[in-house]
Structures are given as structure tokens and as C-alpha cells.
């Protein structure tokens, strides 16, 4: 646990944890609103977003790509809503139509354009490359205090930290209206809460998390982290505040264990090459959810108990 750890594992771990938490936070609300699959849809449309951004700018710089991805997410949400309302199609099917078509368009554009010179392909979009986000100029824990070494941190770390912080702040600020409109939308409307804007805001926040995380870790983790930690957390408690805390814990644990298993697991079994960290983090989050489904204290639906009337 010395210099080598700081150099090779510290930053990927930190980025993994931040990405997992950024996705899990809005995931809690998406799950309660029965919109879990919005996360799935968003992470698929990130691909056409970055391809279009690449075609326009001609470079693989981060900001245009993040903007493109965020734009694609908003386009997808608007399309889903339009198909649902205009065509009177149930939301699941509207979502399925939208994200698969946009994804297909992304793949086609990618094949058509000359991206051979740059590192842009479908696989990268899916699994990301967490393992490569190392901190080369670090030579031990002391580097954390060395401004020169700190300047050389992977830029993904800073971006992810900013986005995670932003999402945490947004969640805190909009906590009550979000909770209220998720629980009882009609009542929220009578209070004058703009429920439509709030739910679009939630989706945009989710898109922000997805885009930032996808840049570092790929879309697989994004979908898994939107859903698995909050779903497992829901089974642990009957209070939203506690649920969110559990989901953050589960997300962080998935990131750490997944990264460790991916890097060291094969060694334990006599292999010598690491496996995909993104895939492993998703797998671990699934195992956590599986255990929660089997053993968590509040896993089953409550039946209404017989009326104990004493009035």
C-alpha cells in the first residue's frame, strides 16, 4: 500500500467511487418514480451525442463531447415524452423506440466517419477505461501535498468531483419538493410546485451524472449505478433519508470491491491479466442487490394489517 498504490490505484478508485455516487443519488428518485429505465435510455444515447460532437468539432476534446452527450440526453427525453403524449404510447415502449433508434444512429455515424485516427469506438463508450486513469507523477502518499504532482492528476478526477458535488448540492436543495412531488404529484401541483420542471430537472441531472461518469468509466457502470445501489437501499429501510445514505454506501462499496476484484481477482485464480473494472463493478453491485433481495429487512411489500381501530 505504498507508492505503487497511489500511482496506479488511488485515482481510478476515487473516480470510480465518485462516479458511482453521482449516479446513485438521482437513481433513488428515478426508482421511486418508476423511471429506472430512463437511466438506461440516457446511457445509450450518450454514444450518438459524442459522435455528433466529434463530427462537428473534429477533435476528441472533453467539453464538446460532454456537451454533445448532454444534448443527446435532453433530445432523447424530449423525444420520449413527445412519442408518449402525441402517439399515446406507454412510456416503456416510447423509451425503447427512442434510445434504440438514437443508438443505432450513433453506431452508423461512427462507422461512416473516419475515426480510425482517434480513440473513439463503441467498446470504449460501453466499458470506459477506468484502469488507465493513473497518476503517473505520484511517488507516494506525500504527492498528495505536492502541488507539482497534483497538477498532473487525471483531469477526469477533477471533473467527476465537481459533478458529484454539484449533484449532491442539487439533491439537498431540492430535497423537499422532489420528495413531495415523487410521493404525491397531484398534491404537489396544488401547492404550486412546478412538477413538470422538477421532473425534467431530475432527468437532466441524471444525464449530467451519466455523461460525466461515462467519460471516465463507460455506460455499463452508469446504468448499474443508477439502479442497483438505490434498489438495494430501498430494501434496507422505509425512510427516504436513510435509503439515500444506504445507496451511497452501496455505490462506494461496489466501486471499491469491483475495482479490487478486477485488478487482483485474476491473480488469485492464477491468471495474470486484469479484467474489465467497469464490468466487475457492475457485477459486484448486482451481487449486493441480490443479497438485499434475499436478506434485507424491508425486502417484501407490506400488506395492510387488519384495522386496529380504537377510536
Amino acid at each position: 500500500m505504498g507508492a505503487e498504490f497511489v500511482q496506479l490505484s488511488l485515482t481510478p478508485l476515487a473516480i470510480g467511487i465518485l462516479a458511482a455516487v453521482a449516479c446513485a443519488l438521482p437513481g433513488n428518485f428515478l426508482i421511486l418514480r418508476r423511471q429506472a429505465l430512463i437511466g438506461d435510455a440516457i446511457s445509450h444515447v450518450v454514444l450518438p451525442g459524442i459522435v455528433v460532437a466529434f463530427l462537428i468539432t473534429g477533435t476528441i476534446s472533453t467539453w464538446p463531447m460532454m456537451l454533445g452527450a448532454a444534448g443527446a440526453a435532453v433530445v432523447a427525453v424530449v423525444l420520449i415524452e413527445a412519442i408518449r403524449r402525441l402517439g399515446r404510447i406507454e412510456p416503456g415502449a416510447a423509451m425503447g423506440v427512442t434510445f434504440t433508434s438514437l443508438f443505432a444512429a450513433g453506431v452508423l455515424l461512427l462507422e461512416q466517419s473516419d475515426t480510425s485516427s482517434v480513440h473513439l469506438d463503441v467498446e470504449h463508450a460501453l466499458y470506459g477505461n477506468l484502469e488507465s486513469l493513473i497518476w503517473l507523477s505520484a511517488d507516494g502518499w506525500g504527492s498528495l501535498l505536492d502541488p507539482q504532482a497534483l497538477a498532473d492528476l487525471p483531469p477526469e478526477l477533477g471533473r467527476m468531483a465537481v459533478v458529484t458535488l454539484l449533484i449532491a448540492v442539487l439533491t439537498a436543495v431540492f430535497w423537499r419538493p422532489l420528495k413531495l412531488s415523487t410521493f404525491d404529484e397531484g398534491f404537489a401541483k396544488t401547492l404550486g410546485i412546478p412538477t413538470g420542471a422538477l421532473s425534467l430537472g431530475l432527468v437532466v441531472t441524471a444525464a449530467l451524472a451519466a455523461v460525466a461518469a461515462f467519460d471516465a468509466v463507460g455506460s455499463i457502470i452508469v446504468i448499474a449505478m443508477f439502479i442497483c445501489p438505490p434498489a438495494a437501499a430501498r430494501l434496507m429501510t422505509n425512510r427516504l433519508e436513510v435509503q439515500v445514505a444506504w445507496s451511497i454506501a452501496f455505490a462506494a462499496v461496489s466501486a471499491v470491491l469491483g475495482y479490487v476484484f478486477a485488478g487482483y481477482g485474476p491473480l488469485w485464480f492464477g491468471g495474470n491479466d486484469a479484467v474489465s473494472a467497469a464490468g466487475m463493478i457492475a457485477t459486484v453491485s448486482g451481487m449486493i442487490l441480490g443479497s438485499a433481495c434475499l436478506f434485507a429487512p424491508h425486502r417484501s411489500r407490506v400488506g395492510v394489517p387488519p384495522e386496529p381501530e380504537q377510536t
Binding site: P177, K189, L191, N238, R239, L240, E309
Partner: protein, 271 residues
């Protein structure tokens, strides 16, 4: 319908309709709501007098709940204006409390009884929405009023239907409004809850507040309410119970679905 009343102007500069006096808790004109091509509520005018206990009555599918939701702006109206104490809805929201139908929310939601009641204090919580001790005490007092104080810490899904309804009522009490709108508050609740709810509603009336309920049980109309609005997509009749809740009007509202002998039993004894 004095000309002076017409002069009340809405925020967007359009004048509100004649019945929109500051005295009337609720005045509706020309309310039409349609889902697709079929109107669910058609061209309803109604005025609820101050301090009354009013019931909106009609058969299933008559648009009772839709009317209430359109009044509150929860569903969009095709045409029509609403005035609450003479003001447009947007400026009078703080004077309204709403109790939705029990089935309209997700009772599996991870939250406790006390949290639901605190939602009624939403407007008082300020920018950061911090819940302080006096908020909590207020919420508990409202639960006390509906006889649910012992359940404050329970998850809402663990309550029976009647208890859930009372929690909703407690939330509305926490709103401390002048006009209470309730959507089928007595639907599917036990006798004890019905008694508890009507007692609270009557105490609201005693405090000079106005209560409007969507109601389906004809047998209790005379006991509970003093003003009725009979609708079946369109308005059939409106007015004090004594003069409006008549066999003829009910027949017109329910059509052949109500046996005449049955109606007679519901009426006030003719004085």
C-alpha cells in the same frame, strides 16, 4: 352579479367572471375538461358560498374528481375560469388545502406518517426546507386531531385504508387553509374513520372555513352537508341541500340508475 364584481382583474389582465367575489371561496365558470373527444366535465358554472359544507355529487364517471382537479389546475381545462376568494388560482393557492383520493399515491413510498403531515407545512419551511421543533409539534397536533398521533413513526404503507385517509386529512389541516377540497374522503373507510373525518370537517366549518367534498354516498348527504352540486358531466343543479337535493334532481342526475322508492328514503322529511 353586480358590475363591481366584474372589475376584479386576474394577474394576466383578463377580468374574472361575475361570480368571482372576494366573499365566495370558490366560483367556477364554464369549466370544460375533456380527455380526447369526450368531455368529462362540460360547461359547469358553480359558486360555493362562504362557510359552507358542500358536496359534489353524481354517478360514477360523472366527472366529480375531474372537476375538482381542474379547479386546482392538476388537470388542464379546455375552457373555463376559476376564482378562489375572488382571486385567480395562482394567487390563492395558500388558501386552499387538497386531500386527493387515497389511490392516487404510492403507499409503498419510503416515508413515515409524520413526514407526510409535514408536507402540509411545505410553504412555511422556508428556503432550505429545514424542519424545526415547532413544525414537528404542529404536525403532531394535526395528527392528534384526527386520532393518529400514536402512528407518527410508522411507515405509511403499514396503515389501513381508513388510517391513510386520516393522515391525508391531517396533512390538509397542517396547511391551515380557508378552503378545503376533498376527493372522496369517505370512500372505502371504516365507520370509525368516517366519524372521525366528519367530526374534523364539522369543526372546520365551525371555524368559518369552507369545505368541498366529492361525495358518493347519497344516504349521508343530508346529515353531512348544507350545499350540494349535482353533476353528470354537466351541472344538473346547485344550491342548499334542503331545496336542491330533491328526488327530481337526483333522478335527472342519475337517470334510470336510481329507483324512485330509494330516492324517497334519502330526502329530508317534507316540512
Amino acid at each position: 352579479m353586480t358590475p363591481a364584481a366584474v372589475q376584479l382583474a386576474a394577474s394576466d389582465g383578463r377580468a374574472l367572471h361575475p361570480a368571482a367575489s372576494t366573499d365566495n371561496p370558490l366560483a367556477i365558470q364554464g369549466m370544460t375538461v375533456s380527455y380526447g373527444e369526450k368531455p368529462a366535465v362540460f360547461s359547469i358554472d358553480a359558486t360555493v358560498p362562504p362557510g359552507s359544507m358542500a358536496a359534489i355529487i353524481g354517478p360514477n364517471g360523472a366527472g366529480k374528481s375531474t372537476l375538482l382537479k381542474a379547479v386546482l389546475g392538476v388537470v388542464p381545462a379546455l375552457s373555463g375560469t376559476v376564482a378562489v376568494f375572488g382571486a385567480p388560482l395562482a394567487r390563492a393557492r395558500h388558501r386552499i388545502a387538497y386531500v386527493p383520493q387515497r389511490a392516487s399515491v404510492d403507499w409503498d413510498f419510503p416515508t413515515r406518517v409524520i413526514d407526510v403531515v409535514l408536507m402540509g407545512l411545505y410553504r412555511e419551511l422556508g428556503l432550505l426546507h429545514l424542519v424545526r421543533r415547532h413544525h414537528r409539534e404542529k404536525a403532531l397536533a394535526c395528527l392528534e386531531r384526527v386520532g393518529m398521533a400514536d402512528f407518527a413513526g410508522r411507515q405509511i404503507g403499514q396503515l389501513s385504508g381508513g388510517q391513510q385517509q386520516r393522515v391525508f386529512l391531517a396533512r390538509a389541516l397542517a396547511q391551515n387553509a380557508d378552503l378545503y377540497l376533498l376527493d372522496e374522503p369517505f370512500a372505502g373507510v371504516d365507520a370509525a374513520t368516517e366519524k372521525a373525518i366528519i367530526d374534523v370537517l364539522k369543526s372546520l366549518k365551525a371555524e368559518k372555513r369552507t369545505v368541498v367534498c366529492v361525495h358518493h354516498d347519497l344516504a349521508t348527504v343530508v346529515d353531512y352537508f348544507d350545499h350540494v352540486l349535482l353533476i353528470n358531466v354537466r351541472k344538473i343543479a346547485e344550491g342548499p341541500v334542503a331545496t336542491t337535493f330533491t328526488a327530481e334532481n337526483l333522478q335527472a342526475t342519475y337517470g334510470g340508475r336510481l329507483a324512485t322508492t330509494h330516492i324517497d328514503q334519502l330526502m329530508l322529511p317534507v316540512a
